[in-house]
Symmetry: C2
Subunit: 372 residues, 2 copies
């Protein structure tokens, strides 16, 4: 391995796997994949945005390692995360007569990871899967933990599979070609790990968050590693989201409602919705007397200083309606026995699961947040 | 429980479940489901052939037990076991805002079980699944073991999920409305359990097989129970088909090739293809000096006496070609490192996995079988 590469282990018994975080990993992918996923034929799935930057590099590295490689290039964008695209990938792989030892490699952001992982879970009822996330969001969140899925007309990620990769390769150099807006959206998930379980990491981000965003290599590696380690620990404890894994949904119940309203498109990116959703969750926590107002203020100050949105009013001239947003929450996977599950916070670094929130308080909070 | 009902346990750790075998179980489904799958909302998925016979009965039983029930009625037939039908079921369930505690109930044959199980594995990344198989094939084979899937243009069951049900309810009375041809096709899988691991059961079938086919209740219950117990034991030992579970594919490598050639339709039913495939596998075993010719003769005699086909020449005036059939085998999931895996037999009741079969011998056997 090169210097500056660390392996984090996601501990899931027989389905355990490593996350490699470092620089220059893309060009050496062929060195890492065989040890984790064997020497079967590989299909690299990527999109039209990522392909020009990294597809030749990764394909070449796998071929140099003696692996048979084919490429599947999909159109880019969240609107393609649907049944049809998964079917297209499954059929494209089946065209090449895969075996159970074959490997699907996801090279791209969260959309590519979700489509590819869901397809890998289906081909021959499950072939090897390797994640090479190229966005900050995918590196710190979606590539770790085994959730794959697609959107339907009912909402986001409502169909999918729990399917763990054999290996995750997070090359921080890939972030250099990422548009600033997407980088920031991914940074929202980085801050989330501080907010839910690690006040010390939040402190560090207050000092070094701008360095992460501006491209400081050591800061990026530390932020990605710490985020992956946080997620890996939660997933190892609760793979199927029966308990503590729900904390990772901090900001997501509100965020999903905002995305549903804006059509899951480029009007509001997932990370932007989560950022606003986390402020809403903290706001709700403060109103319920659970969290000191100072922690909300401090979080808003950090978001503002790094360029993250803190309210929907920043999002444009769309008309928002609290009751409609609450309606979207009712279609969320996190509904249980008719109750929407909220993740709230007692303080920065101390999130909790709440199942009996008074929806009138939620509506009032949303009404004020929208007017702000 | 009514008399004549026995529970067999499929032992898969946290994913263990019961198979109930007996009579009058359909009318009492509502008594059994809550203990296994909870009291969440249920969707019963069935097809247009089964619905007129049993849908009201099962729906009524679940409603009497206080469960919320909705119905999804699909067109019947293997040609509907495709991506589009799974998407249709997933969307129909999502229309009703399911929760993670909701249950999909498959009421029908293997096609309904496969579509419903695959859909259940996907909705919210996995909700409860209950199998109520109404064909002999589904009762003794496809409803047990957690294999779900669909056909693609490349072949049968090439995409799917391993997804275990919470409960299997096999009501032998449902077989009374099954067309004779389908009953016989299912009987092929019953005989398979004798041929691969249980010579005593094969003896019993030689004596009582006709009673099973002609509708004797005790004989049917014994045959279904013994078959389910055999499959449950194999699945418990090797859920993901890394080793011994492959024995269940006896007759299936040849059978799948025959089905691929005939288009997976009504020209040749799955069980008919498996019956012919088992004779081919025994034939190959005899040619390779592995199995006494007397065991092949005895099996052919039993097939003929019960009405099972023993060769493709019985199938009509289609032109068969050995090389084309071998080509179909190359697209089978059971290919490993380019080698087709065959399940052969050393004797009735003693099947073995063979990975290095001389394909020239296979071709010669097929050429003679086709000419016969």
């Amino acid at each position: 391995m090169t210097t500056n590469t660390d392996a984090l282990r996601v501990d899931l018994g027989k389905r355990s796997y490593d996350i490699l975080v470092g620089e220059h990993l893309l060009a050496n992918a062929g060195q890492y994949i065989p040890a984790a996923a064997g020497r079967g034929a590989c299909w690299i799935v990527t999109d039209e945005n990522v392909a020009p930057h990294y597809l030749d590099m990764v394909t070449g590295s796998l071929r140099d390692a003696g692996l048979a490689v084919r490429n599947i290039v999909l159109p880019a964008g969240e609107e393609n995360k649907n049944f049809g695209m998964v079917e297209r990938v499954v059929n494209a792989v089946l065209d090449g007569a895969p075996e159970r030892t074959s490997t699907l490699v996801a090279l791209g952001g969260g959309v590519i990871g979700d489509i590819t992982g869901f397809a890998a879970s289906q081909v021959l009822r499950g072939i090897n899967f390797v994640q090479i996330p190229t966005t900050l969001l995918a590196q710190v969140d979606s590539s770790v933990g085994g959730k794959t899925g697609i959107n339907t007309r009912h909402g986001k990620n409502l169909a999918g599979a729990f399917y763990q990769p054999r290996l995750v390769i997070a090359d921080t150099a890939a972030l250099d070609t990422l548009p600033q807006r997407e980088l920031l959206a991914g940074y929202a998930e980085v801050v989330k790990y501080g907010l839910i379980r690690d006040a010390g990491f939040f402190d560090w981000l207050e000092q070094h968050g701008r360095a992460v965003i501006e491209g400081n290599l050591d800061a990026r590696i530390y932020a990605v590693k710490t985020s992956c380690a946080a997620k890996a620990a939660v997933v190892a404890e609760d793979e199927r989201e029966n308990s503590i894994r729900a904390l990772l949904n901090f900001g997501h119940t509100f965020g999903h409602a905002l995305e549903a309203e804006t059509g899951f498109g480029s009007e509001m990116l997932h990370g932007e919705a989560v950022a606003i959703g986390m402020i809403m969750a903290l706001n709700l926590s403060v109103r319920m007397g659970l969290c000191p107002a100072g922690d909300l203020d401090r979080t808003m100050a950090h978001f503002s200083s790094t360029g993250l949105p803190i309210s929907v009013s920043a999002g444009g001239d769309r008309k928002w309606d609290p009751v409609t947003l609450i309606g979207h929450m009712g279609h969320d996977k996190k509904v249980r026995d008719g109750h929407v599950t909220f993740i709230l916070a007692r303080a920065i670094g101390d999130a909790v699961i709440a199942r009996d929130v008074n929806m009138a308080v939620v509506e009032d909070m949303l009404r004020r947040a929208i007017a702000a």
